[in-house]
Point group: C2
Chain length 691, copies 2
Amino acid sequence: MNLRSLSALAAGCVLLATPTRSEEGMWLFNDPPRAQVKARYGFDLTPAWLDHLMKSSVRFNSGGSGSFVSGDGLVITNHHVGLDALQKMSTAEQNYARTGFYAATAAAEVKCLDLELNVLQSITDVTPRVNAAVPAGAADDAAAAARRKVIAAIEKESREGTGLRSDVVTLYQGGAYHLYRYHRYTDIRLVFAPEQQAAFFGGDPDNFEYPRYDLDICLFRVYENNQPVRSAQFLKWSAAGAAKGELVFVSGHPGATDRLLTVPELEFIRDQRFPYQLATLNRWEVLLAAWGARSDENARRAKDDLFGIQNTRKVRDGALAALQDPVFMAAKASAEEKFKQRLAAAAAGAPALAAYQRIAVAQRRVNEHYLRYRYLELGSGFFSDSFAIARALLRAGDERPKPHGDRLGEFADARHESLELDLFSDKPIYPDYEILKLGDSLTDLTEKLGYDDPLVRQILAGQSPRARAAALVLGTRVRDVAERRRLYQGGAAAVAAARDPMIELARLVDPEARTLRKLMEAQDEVKQQAQAVIGRARFALEGTSNYPDATFTLRLSYGTVKGYEEAGKPVAALTDFAGLYRRSAEHHDREPFDLPPRWIERRAALALATPLNFVSTCDIIGGNSGSPTVNRAGEFVGIIFDGNIHSLASDFGYDDSQCRALSVHSAGIIEALRKVFGAGALADELVNGHR
Amino acid sequence: MNLRSLSALAAGCVLLATPTRSEEGMWLFNDPPRAQVKARYGFDLTPAWLDHLMKSSVRFNSGGSGSFVSGDGLVITNHHVGLDALQKMSTAEQNYARTGFYAATAAAEVKCLDLELNVLQSITDVTPRVNAAVPAGAADDAAAAARRKVIAAIEKESREGTGLRSDVVTLYQGGAYHLYRYHRYTDIRLVFAPEQQAAFFGGDPDNFEYPRYDLDICLFRVYENNQPVRSAQFLKWSAAGAAKGELVFVSGHPGATDRLLTVPELEFIRDQRFPYQLATLNRWEVLLAAWGARSDENARRAKDDLFGIQNTRKVRDGALAALQDPVFMAAKASAEEKFKQRLAAAAAGAPALAAYQRIAVAQRRVNEHYLRYRYLELGSGFFSDSFAIARALLRAGDERPKPHGDRLGEFADARHESLELDLFSDKPIYPDYEILKLGDSLTDLTEKLGYDDPLVRQILAGQSPRARAAALVLGTRVRDVAERRRLYQGGAAAVAAARDPMIELARLVDPEARTLRKLMEAQDEVKQQAQAVIGRARFALEGTSNYPDATFTLRLSYGTVKGYEEAGKPVAALTDFAGLYRRSAEHHDREPFDLPPRWIERRAALALATPLNFVSTCDIIGGNSGSPTVNRAGEFVGIIFDGNIHSLASDFGYDDSQCRALSVHSAGIIEALRKVFGAGALADELVNGHR
């Protein structure tokens, strides 16, 4: 499991994804809800307005969103999006995550190890070309291969023609394919981070709750050729910020939604995927919390993983609660049944009905093999950086010589720079922590696949899971970046000659892991094609009023700054600094409600009524973390950092009665920068739009 | 699951239970290791010495051990054994567990709500009478019923004849039955408890670790007829306490060991019982930790459960690690195989070999039904006090009218006073905490038994697990003690007429739960009989050099005060107060390494070189918590409170190379009472043996 993707928050809102109601929707920038917004708010989403917002929005490849907020390359995101980078640059002596950081001068800015930012430049519909490349009536495997091939060709052509990162994105479950071209930045330097205590005030207990009081921000400066990027494509800062009742927009990268899943697919998630994942997250949370409590240094090493685990655990818990709700599931089933009846009555409904059948069959195959797939291929059995690197090196040796279109997805040309950035990262890897994690995963693997399973016996090689983990971690050389480079460059022969125990473990597991992956990808392909058939039928019946499920590509949401009711009591839309100090006092200033020293010392200087956080009805989900919230003028009025507890099922549906997106308020950011952090120059740059 | 039994610690040591080696053994007081101790240490365990130690030893029915340490009824145990009682008498305003307590006068002593202490008075072998009551060749069910009946008769007869609590204990897997008669005390008053911070210094991170620095003690006074119990049966206090290299004894109530289990039984524990339990413990630990972090009051309410959960989690983790170790399992398998070969070669070995077969068959039946049994009968699906009470009321109505011998075990006459004490306890039950726990268990139940399972659908009654839990907890009246009494006295008719939703839930589940329990008890009976056959064959082949597995009855262990090696480095046998302050400083005095204020203020007054904790090679396990450690003179030199990390597989075997039992040192207790707590009068009572 890639934990960086866990650090993306998941939010959005409960219920069903039948025709768009309320303020539901994660809209494409090339197909915006122009008519709806015009009708409801009298506001026109002009192409120029959209283009500027698009080019000011940033994707953090580590799993999050952000935006340019000055003409001198300043990018704002969440602290929890930047955390991975802060963690990687930290040492036992200098802990950027805990103590925070401010570079008052350009020289003081610190370069990140392996952060990649993407800025979307254009969207092109390539559906006809992709569909034309798939022979009519092709078998699923052949269709998938043909589609992969044409997509790779389009991406390569575009990249070579424009120099831009080029990704073909599958939308509407395969109903459409759009080419997204990004400007790619890799020289990213840290400018400002608050203390994690302030960014994540209230910690796991307050995570996904509201009211909140979090300064969940982090500022980077983007460089090219060793100079800050200078551009007019940035968001003007609103000093007043968001006001109650105001129309706002969110421009960001929602990671994934599943609002059009069929009932058998939802049942699989309810009965296997989420329960298995929650069981793993629970055991990891207990493992890391207990180990972290043994010493400060342990806690520092585990902090980033632990945060991601707790975050995802809450998300999955909330979503599973909806899926286990008979009312929710009955509504999903009934909506599907009604749609099938419409299909049955329609002239051209038969293929879509058959597609439902194919999905059900494919899902049954997935169900049968999912457990082993999860443990052997998805990484539940080998939780450690060392194994992930060892497998990447092994597979790089096997995959890179193949023709582009035949490779495993992560070895596609379009991803190879990102892959190398990741593989050769200087991020520290600690043997004791690796042994802890791998030992626990091998224990779990032994439980789940069975002590007598032949592959498990080979994996353990006659040792107990913990002893085996220690032998593997202490025996491998993959923690040495130079060794990684050598093996990567040397290819399969060098990898085999190394006889590295961790790589040999990856090799041992690889035949079955690859078989399972192939099987799963084949079912995905069946489902994708079937969903495309259903999707086209849905369009035919329901028109184009729907947005596609989220795909970690740029989307536009809209909504209102608005409170809600909780157990019959009103919850106000905005919080302020006074509330922050109140909540801290309620908890005797104890962790995770403790405030860093300067927040206590400088309290008197703060205008305590300044807004700090606010909620809106915008439809968001994990990956939207760090998205700018903007007003009609396209000005930055806040930054998304979380969803409330009611939003945790929004993967599957949306309802705006209680579900809210949480933002840090732009006025609160300026107040904190000036009064708490003495970062007046940075606040000036934000307000003025340049240094 | 009864969490009070979780608060018993599990300790002891790794390896195999073939003929007694090293200092292995939890010996019966009526069959002590007199020859071995004489041979090895030149010390004679005389009947008088043993009788005095036996009558000075105390069993805490809530799950632990203790001893009389003054002629005025003073009993010492561990803080973590007393914790359940401290918790029950605490309120939001007065938290005995957190702040500690000292009653300087008799009037200040606080009565516990539902604590029961037992003091063993005699042991009588009743094996012939029990065996005679079971007809030769009886079917398993009939045999079990006959045995239950005769045991009930013996217990009743003894109780009525002596006025003493009378329990027939099954030993040697059914090879022997001994009648244990106890003096039973229920008026127990709190005299002294340190702050939990001091008792459990280092918390979960240091639990089962060594070196340690815990003042894990708690003192109660036992009353009868409103007067302290005055008796000469108490342990003289050793002011000097345990010394390095000294022979020591432990007299306590080890809960359960499984050192003679067959390979299929061990495989079941490895593949089902421990993994299922660990998964449940992990989810509960995460649930309670997250909820406890929301407010101080939440944390107080969850503290006792959370401690029990973390404690058991470490124990199970350690034991599972041994069971998943191919070396350990291969040794177990080989020992069993060798014994079977001896049986095959012996004239009368055939019945024992057949018994192994019967165990294997019975185990397969258990394996098939264990998951549902665990969720429906053992309580994994209904984690809440309300459900436990509701079920007890329902079953009391059904069971109490039956003839004594036909009832479920917990409704036997011998247990009815304990049952009522528990059922009518004034222990506070908090609805929000109940909803949290029950909601999570119903979620887990839905996952494990399946959303579409007919019984699960009936249990959820059309609601989501959390909504259903809220409806049940808010709708039931079983939290009202008067209502409980009314229903208990009114019997089945009153229980039915109440139409209480929680009781009706228990009723819904009861048919299958009872069927599963009957099936499991039948398999236990098969195994018990088969183990008795094997046991007898073992005695025939190996003599009586072995002790029986632990049964939460009084046992004697012996060993030496002795350090050990850890990763090649020596670990000293004793720690002192200086080490306590050092460890706290290493952790910046932060929780759980923080010291209470008076410990910091009074540091200068302490003789820092006074011993605080020590380790010995005594063979102990969960339930031994609070056992006195005594010297040759039978004097109290310390009190068992934990085992080290190497001891966690001792359920299945023992090896004294690294495994150690941890005690609080008697000198350290006196030093802390006088210098830290200003409890000079109490220290005087201990040293002088009277007030």
